[in-house]
Symmetry: C2
Subunit: 259 residues, 2 copies
């Protein structure tokens, strides 16, 4: 009888351990006095995993970013979605998004503070290996990860997906410690060639390790199905570029995390 009970208990524990896997939930955190609402996803069965900060596109932290976080958790990472706008606020429409994003693009110090608060929250997440963290960002979030790097943040790499590449203070390139991967639509009309050239100069002058990838036929927001299918609008989903850029990001993670 005791043997049977012991076996049942043992099996239950094993089952419980195998089942304690995907966690995905909102996370309250702070930037000074400002309350923020992020989102974390990870596999609780892994004792330790590299952490990925996800910086959202200009609408705010939406189901899109949460989906990406769960996708990364399924691949064995701890993924934390940043709340840039505070209170988990999501813009009602693109007009409001433009105003909100403009506030942060126009005040890079504020943007960097908000980004670093999110990075601290990532590092405080369960199971994360704080020595192996990276950041990825979409559109406005791509600008965000570059700003995180320019703030001198201690991340191993940053990945911009069709991000805004401009910088009002290119000298800050000298602060970049991270390796940089810029994944961009060759036909993205929202990034002037002058911005791309300026970013290359900024990173080159600072001796930053960067890779710059252009995908033909892709415009802005090419990783985002909600952008629709009409490239003539300047923003559109591009499945081919989405898959390729995701693969490029995973290769980059393998390299920087030493897998």
């Amino acid at each position: 009888m005791r043997l049977a009970l012991a076996v049942c208990l043992g099996l239950s524990l094993v089952a419980a351990a195998a089942q304690a896997r995907d966690v995905a939930k909102d996370v309250s955190y702070k930037d000074g006095d400002t309350s923020l609402l992020g989102y974390v996803a990870y596999d609780n069965a892994k004792a330790s995993a590299p952490g990925i900060l996800i910086v959202p596109q200009w609408m705010g932290l939406t189901d899109y970013e949460k989906g990406r976080a769960r996708q990364l958790a399924g691949l064995g990472y701890v993924a934390f979605c940043a709340d840039i706008y505070a209170q988990g606020h999501v813009a009602q429409d693109t007009k409001e998004a433009g105003i909100l994003a403009g506030k942060f693009r126009g005040d890079r110090a504020l943007f960097r503070a908000r980004l670093n608060a999110a990075l601290r929250a990532l590092r405080a997440s369960p199971t994360v290996d704080a020595r192996r963290c990276a950041a990825i960002g979409y559109c406005f979030g791509g600008t965000g990860v570059l700003e995180l790097a320019r703030s001198g943040a201690d991340v191993l790499g940053v990945v911009s997906f069709h991000g805004g590449l401009d910088s009002p203070t290119p000298a800050d390139g000298k602060n970049v410690k991270a390796k940089v991967l810029v994944l961009h639509g060759a036909d993205d009309p929202f990034t002037p060639k002058a911005d791309i050239a300026a970013m290359e100069k900024e990173l080159k002058d600072a001796g930053v390790d960067y890779q710059l990838v252009f995908y033909s036929g892709a415009v802005h927001a090419f990783t985002q199905p909600m952008a629709g299918n009409d490239p003539s609008k300047g923003a559109a989903y591009n499945e081919r570029a989405d898959k390729r850029s995701w693969r490029a990001m995973l290769d980059f993670f393998d390299e920087i995390f030493g897998r």
Copy 2:
């Protein structure tokens, strides 16, 4: 006794089959009346494998290309190194290399004929899956694979490693069937920005599927240890870019060969 003999025979056959693996050898072939000496490498134990044409850098078909062929064979591909200069001729020095390469860069029809002869030889190689072929090229060979694509060759993809990107006939972009992957040193002084822009326009106007990747800190010949370690010369090995570009090529092969 007969059982023992049968068992021994069976074991010998199994051992023989397991051992019939890496083949690497010179291959005589023709371009019209011109005798050419290529090199093929493949795993004879595989019934069928995608074929990769390797177009050499300007010195001709050297141990470098043969090494790459064996490396690809080890990964399960049939690799065939093209002989562009005929008779397996290798330049004595860079001065001669410049003259030989110049002859083909100055006569793209001849270059294309020589490239297509090599592609036919690849397709005639044992074990190759003729429906799944690609071409890769280094420097002058990078120009070569782009010319192969511009000739309308039926390859699934071409990969240029720090290739010359210029074209005297950009309208030929319309002939390109292959997907194109251009892997380039961000600091390569031998490729004017105007050439890069012209190639992008050529491919974009023709609706070609291309990817363009720049590696920071890499100059010309970044995949080639024989180029030395001094980037100030304009050509130098760059291990980081070499590894990343090789990975990018393998991802590209996975995609175009449907693995």
